[in-house]
């Protein structure tokens, strides 16, 4: 990644971000593009849970765990680092937060994400959220609009090893393993 070379992965970096979520308005296919930060790309989708649906959402934790266990590369095209799913109530009712950190901007692979959510059964979590479009099965644009409208951009992001992609991390670990193997062979 270009940014990696300029800034160096070994120097931790923080970046504060304007309220809009971007520095300069740059249109993507579905709206303004959110920039890469030292913590790469990401989103934080927050929505209110429909009354009485908490357990339904919690139960899906197991479904996703099984889906990834059965097919560990199922989410590979999304270039993810981490996903976090949180349920919380700070006095205004139960809310759901879905936070992801990945290596490509939010807009580019939205259709891939929606298709993967559908194929893994993940989408069925979202039907428990207020504002989720009723015609989600046939209206891709409405689904994408939901994610964009419920995304709360960060105002600050930090990276201990900034701008490094998951692929680079995996390559580094593979190299380490290969060198370790090499040393074993030389004993």
């Amino acid at each position: 990644m270009a940014e990696t070379l300029e800034n160096g992965w070994s120097t931790p970096a923080a970046l504060s971000i304007p309220k809009e979520g971007y520095f300069k308005k740059e249109e993507g296919r579905y709206g303004p593009v959110f920039p890469q930060t030292p913590a790469n790309y990401g989103f934080s989708v927050i929505a209110k849970v429909k009354p009485g649906r908490e357990q339904a959402i919690r139960d899906y934790g197991k479904t996703i765990e099984e889906a990834v266990k059965g097919s560990p590369n199922v989410l590979a095209p999304l270039k993810l680092h981490y996903l976090r799913w949180v349920l919380f109530d700070v006095g205004s009712g139960l809310h759901f937060m879905y936070q992801g950190i990945f290596d490509t901007d939010f807009d580019k692979y939205l259709e891939d994400a929606v298709a993967l959510f559908n194929s893994t059964g993940l989408t069925t979590v979202f039907v428990n959220l207020e504002g989720w479009p009723e015609d989600w099965k046939t209206n891709l644009n409405a689904v994408i609009k939901f994610f964009r409208e419920h995304h709360c951009p960060s105002f600050l992001e930090y990276g201990e090893y900034p701008y490094v992609s998951a692929d680079e991390v995996k390559k580094a670990l593979k190299l380490k393993a290969a060198f370790s193997n090499m040393l074993d062979q030389m004993q």
Binding site: M1, P77, D103, K108, E111, L140, E168
Partner: protein, 447 residues
């Protein structure tokens, strides 16, 4: 919105353009402005009788050598009298038009719509007539007939037109750089055509035609009214000038012998230039027999056969535009387009220096969802520097400004080809809607 099994396309109501490939040697695109709504509707009505549908064109005899298609811009539909409520149901990219999406598509700098030709970015562009003819005489006869017709219908005028003609050598289909073309095209379920080995499985009709189930198994929400959208498709038009002299200079600078130059040309494309034989299957040496064997020339993948790109570089044109790799995309079947088009401008003989003439390709990409299909291909797979962490763009379809490098994976150390300039410049583009036959009659009947 329900699942139907074995949906058959209504072939008699679909314009032939995306589904048949007549044996034409020549074509003309005529870009049209409707001065008046009445004139426009009369024109649609008068021409609609000669628009070929899939069914009739498929069974047409050799002597039937004229194939006309009509498509409209958003402004064209509005001018013809489609009401604003209906217009608002058309997808945003189509409503905005391609020129307004320039930043998304990477059409900046020399590729910017300000420099586009043929008045293609004008708000006055309302429609296009795509005319195929078997020979030049037949084409001239049709154009003359249309010109005469327009004399009686002053409500319609020609903004510009573009002649497309095959360039020598005529023994294989190719563009000005000499790359063999038309090696992969989507096959649609229910058409009775088997995909060749290694090609995509048949697509659901809704990937290309409105009103049918797509790969989700459901009929996606459609523009209104149904009579207008049913059996229609969207077309993304792209005119790209090809800088043949610059391309040949680049090959010479990166290869001492003809064989080395051909290998560099093949590495940029992912296939050998004149045969189309895929590098994955014959990485060292061209194989003509393999290239022309439809049972073999698409029968490969990248994930298992060439994961590191030692045969076919990750950044080559065919590996970017048709990724064939589950690690990169699980929804390749939702990113397909049907390409139609050809070359314009004079042939530049192999040994001739660049004469500065305007030559290139002018292509229509047919799809059901401009953003998900066409715009994704251009903005992400062609133009995203982060694609596979290459920090490159597609050598032909990407927006390249100034000399860049491209990585050719090679053992022990990767090789970089340098001085890769923009071999192509985008010089035109527009979004059109290609309606069904009944929809043409509906447009002609609007008040």
């Amino acid at each position: 919105m329900f699942i139907k099994k074995n949906v058959m396309l209504e072939l008699e109501d679909i314009q032939h353009y995306l589904l048949t490939r007549p044996h034409a040697t020549i074509a003309q695109y005529i870009f049209i402005n409707f001065r008046t709504a009445e004139g426009g509707r009369k024109w649609v009505n008068d021409l609609s009788d000669i628009v070929g549908n899939v069914k009739t064109v498929m069974v047409a005899s050799e002597s039937d050598m004229r194939w006309v298609s009509l498509a409209f811009t958003f402004q064209g539909l509005r001018k013809l009298g489609v009401d604003e409520t209906s217009l608002a149901t058309f997808p945003e990219p189509f409503r905005q038009g391609m020129a307004a999406r320039a930043a998304i598509l990477g059409d900046i700098g020399i590729n910017h719509p300000d420099h586009w030709e043929d008045k293609i970015a004008s708000e006055d562009l309302h429609a296009v007539v795509i005319l195929f003819a078997r020979d030049r005489d037949e084409k001239e006869r049709c154009i003359k007939r249309h010109d005469e017709y327009l004399q009686d219908n002053p409500g319609v005028e020609i903004l510009s037109s573009l002649l497309l003609e095959a360039v020598p050598p005529y023994d294989y289909v190719h563009e000005h750089f000499g790359y063999r073309d038309r090696l992969t095209t989507p096959v649609i379920e229910g058409m009775g055509v088997e995909p060749t080995p290694g090609s995509h499985p048949p697509s659901k009709p809704g990937e290309f035609f409105l009103g049918y189930p797509d790969e989700t198994g459901l009929i996606p929400i459609q523009p209104m009214p149904e009579i207008l959208s049913k059996n229609g498709s969207f077309l993304a038009y792209r005119k790209m000038r090809e800088h043949v002299g610059a391309f040949r200079d680049f090959l010479k600078a990166n290869g001492k012998t003809v064989e080395e130059q051909e290998l560099v040309a093949a590495k940029l494309m992912g296939r050998w230039r004149t045969t189309g034989a895929p590098l994955v299957l014959c990485p060292e040496k061209d194989d003509r027999e393999l290239g022309f064997d439809d049972k073999r020339n698409n029968n490969f993948d990248y994930e298992k056969m060439d994961p590191h790109g030692y045969a076919c570089p990750m950044g080559s044109h065919i590996r970017r535009m048709n990724v064939r790799d589950g690690r990169v995309s699980r929804i390749m079947n939702r990113r397909l387009i049907i390409r139609r088009g050809g070359t314009y401008g004079p042939y530049l003989p192999d040994d001739a220096p660049d004469d500065g003439a305007n030559r290139g390709i002018a292509v229509f990409a047919g799809c059901a969802d401009i953003s998900r299909q066409f715009e994704f291909l251009i903005s992400v797979w062609a133009n995203d520097p982060e694609f596979l962490e290459l920090n490159e763009r597609d050598p032909f379809a990407g927006s390249i400004d100034g000399a860049v490098e491209m990585t050719i994976p090679k053992r022990p150390i990767k090789k970089k080809v340098k001085g890769l300039n923009a071999f192509t410049t985008v010089t035109g583009g527009a979004y059109f809607f290609l309606p069904g036959i009944k929809a043409l009659k509906y447009l002609a009947s609007l008040k």
